[in-house]
């Protein structure tokens, strides 16, 4: 499992902006996918902080919002491919919930590129690494999350 480097995000003017990314990963697929990426020596950005969840549907909208409040610049949720849920149907509910939540965030004027759902299986280490690289690049281009941050937590 690749470890993250010490946080030095967005400090100082000269330093390049490095976003903080929270990735909620389902224990049964994407988390294993991340593991596979690690053991296969596929690199993915150190900005990604993984939070393991028992199923993608464990992720409640407040998790996503709180991650942003506490300083995340992007939040990605990874679960099993539809139809492959370890608990049969969990990710179908995730899909509907996140569809509505992300649409609401977009409606409130919060950059829609900061949120993403990806289906990554345990065998897709390469996809996991690629997804994270792409997501980090997207969020880096967007810059710091200012619209959904908690000012009290600003560094």
């Amino acid at each position: 499992m690749p470890m993250n480097s010490p946080e030095k995000n967005g400090v100082g003017k000269e330093e390049a902006f490095r976003p903080k990314i929270v990735a909620f990963c389902c224990n049964w697929c994407s988390y294993a996918g991340a593991d596979l990426a690690g053991t296969s020596r596929l690199s993915y950005p150190a900005e990604v902080k993984i939070i393991r969840v028992p199923c993608s549907c464990r992720v409640n909208p407040t998790f996503i919002l709180r991650a942003f409040g506490r300083g995340a610049d992007g939040v990605i949720l990874c679960g099993c491919h539809p139809g492959d849920c370890h608990y049969t149907t969990g990710n179908y509910y995730t899909r509907r919930r996140m569809t509505l939540l992300f649409s609401m965030l977009d409606y409130l004027g919060i950059e829609r590129e900061r949120t993403r759902v990806e289906w990554v299986s345990a065998a897709e280490g390469a996809k996991f690494a690629e997804t994270m690289r792409d997501f980090v690049a997207t969020v880096t281009a967007l810059g710091k999350n200012r619209r959904l941050e908690d000012l009290r937590c600003r560094n």
Partner: protein, 325 residues
């Protein structure tokens, strides 16, 4: 209508068919009616009122009232009957404890709506066929209910009741030209920057009184997540913009798929935040993504968020479809 309702309630009380009556009681002035439980003919005679100021949705009180002894009669306007039906569907109200009487409604108003027309100092009023003659401190003012309609009534979806034991007055029809999503579409058409600025302006007025939650017939949790210290998001005051966003997003999200669009949240907001814009966005998205759905419409169809289809739209593409850049 008021006399008809009073008579019917009194009759059912004396027949012993119901033990209590949930309705509206007159106040100090004409507009300040209060939801009240009546237990006798005398109380009904003295205080019962049904007027253009009876905007309050009584269905949520049934959660508490139906736990008490005996049967309660409730008067429901068409929009209220959807809330009642939804609560019955969610097993929050035992159907057999309630005698629901549908009453006709042609739109309601309140003091706030009249004040925005520049009518202040209202101390009394007379109504005939939707025309109000207001007695104010600055003289008499005439206005129609239609001119000073509550937000929720301006976008009324139907005049037809759900789940009532009997009906007083005539049954209405769905409103054919209901344009309740127009405002949502207007916001969607803005740029993200404009949308952000718009909602910041509105939500920054929030004082976290929780009236929108406390009045909501879909919010019937025994302990709300915002009151539960263990939830990690229990908050009393709007400490900063993030708290405001979090509270309002989660409030609307928790009722998504169950919100009947009764409009009580917007009606009660002391800071006049258009809260329905959040609830309706969810309703609109649900309709677009998963097919038309109306909470409280029928007892069988599962709520969109407790249901799924293998080929549901993906979160990423849905956002691109719903919102415009």
């Amino acid at each position: 209508m008021q006399e008809l309702m009073k008579a019917r309630a009194a009759a059912l009380l004396s027949e012993g068919k119901v033990n209590r009556v949930l309705g509206w009681a007159a106040g100090e002035f004409v507009y300040d009616v209060t939801p009240t439980v009546f237990e006798s003919r005398e109380e009904l005679e003295r205080d019962f009122v049904y007027s253009p100021f009876c905007g309050a949705n009584l269905s949520k009180y049934l959660v508490k009232e139906a736990r008490k002894e005996g049967k309660i009669l409730v008067f429901l306007k068409p929009c209220d009957s959807f809330s009642f039906a939804q609560l019955v569907k969610e097993h929050r109200i035992p159907r057999e404890k309630v005698y629901a009487v549908g009453v006709e409604c042609y739109g309601k108003t309140d003091a706030t709506a009249l004040r925005s027309l520049g009518i202040t100092g209202i101390v009394g009023a007379a109504e005939q066929y939707g025309a109000l003659t207001l007695n104010t401190l600055n003289g008499e003012r005439r206005v129609t209910v239609a001119e000073a309609m509550l937000e929720k009534c301006k976008s009324c979806k139907t005049k037809e009741h759900r789940l009532c034991d009997e009906l007083l007055g005539e049954e209405g029809e769905p409103v054919s030209d209901c344009s309740r999503f127009e405002e949502v579409e207007k916001v969607e058409a803005m740029t993200p920057e404009e949308r952000f600025a718009f909602f910041r302006g509105e939500l920054s007025r929030c004082i976290r009184c929780n009236a929108c939650r406390d009045v909501c017939p879909a919010c019937t949790c025994e302990t709300c997540v915002f009151d539960n210290p263990a939830s990690g998001i229990a908050q009393k005051a709007a400490a900063d913009p993030f708290e405001e966003n979090l509270y309002h997003i989660i409030r609307a999200f928790h009722v998504a798929g169950r919100c009947t669009d009764c409009g009580e949240c917007t009606r009660v907001c002391p800071q006049r935040i258009p809260l329905h814009l959040l609830n309706r966005k969810f309703i609109k998205d649900i309709n677009e993504f998963y097919g038309p759905y109306q909470a409280g419409d029928d007892p069988e169809t599962p709520s969109p968020l407790t249901d799924w289809k293998p080929d549901d739209v993906e979160p990423g593409s849905a956002v691109r479809k719903g919102g415009r850049a």
